[in-house]
Amino acid sequence: MIARRLIIACVLAVGLAACSQSHANDPTALATSVAQALYNNDYSGVTTNFDDALKGQATRTQVAMISDKMHALGDFQGLTLTKSDDDTRRYWFDAKFSKGAMTVELKLHANGQIAAYRIVPAS
């Protein structure tokens, strides 16, 4: 009985761990989480999945600046994948806002960490 409970607990723990890492295998979810964190001006949320080089570059002021640009376009309504290149792990998204849109570009490492993340305001 105890052994069965232990097994169930382990399965649940593994499931939870898998859920917490699910962004790593899902570029859209990863890009969306960063975009949402940028919109919320949440520095730690933005840099959570950045690689070490990117973490060293990003500053709170820069995050705040992008946040301002996003808020100027109204409410954040999510990202839509528009183009991808799995060989180079590069992905492009359309970020929709209530009063406009932006393009989000994402580049991932093989381990799922973010190698580059850029936003391009609509011209």
Partner: protein, 154 residues
């Protein structure tokens, strides 16, 4: 009296602005960049109000002293006139000093703003980067460029 009340109200407002708790960063990102600079700007505004007040007071005293000197001259009281001219000069020196302080304070603010701008995209950083548009509409001439913000290169 009215001026003093106005200055006092301005000072109180500026200090309250400086001392007010900052809005939650997550609550409204729209004002986030402004908030970074707001505290310093409020303190500078308070200092400018004080300097400007001192300058106006000394300018008024200088004008009064000039007037007194002119009156004394008219009354052929050269000693009193000289004394009043000296007082007027001293107040004008104080006005010049206040102007110097004002310029120095404004320069400090300019330096702070320059530093803030430099912090957004420091030398060597590609946070703000010109990005060629993928599909230029016409050949020749200047190909249009857009600006991208972020970290890393593609």
């Amino acid at each position: 009296m009215k001026t003093s009340k106005f200055i006092a109200a301005g000072l109180i407002a500026a200090f309250m602005l400086a001392m007010a708790p900052k809005p939650m960063a997550l609550a409204d990102g729209a004002a986030s960049t402004r908030n970074i600079l707001l505290g310093g700007a409020a303190a500078a505004a308070a200092a400018l109000i004080i300097i400007n007040h001192n300058k106006q007071v000394h300018a008024k005293y200088a004008a009064d002293a000039q007037q007194q000197a002119a009156l004394a001259e008219q009354a052929n009281n050269s000693q009193a006139a000289a004394q009043q001219y000296k007082v007027a000069y001293q107040h004008e020196v104080a006005v010049a000093s206040a102007l110097k302080q004002q310029v120095a304070l404004q320069q400090t603010q300019i330096n702070k703003l320059n530093a803030a701008v430099a912090a957004i995209s420091p030398p060597g950083s590609n946070f703000v980067a010109a990005k060629p548009v993928a599909m230029a509409p016409v050949s020749g001439a200047n190909s249009p460029q857009v600006v991208s913000y972020g970290w890393g290169t593609f």
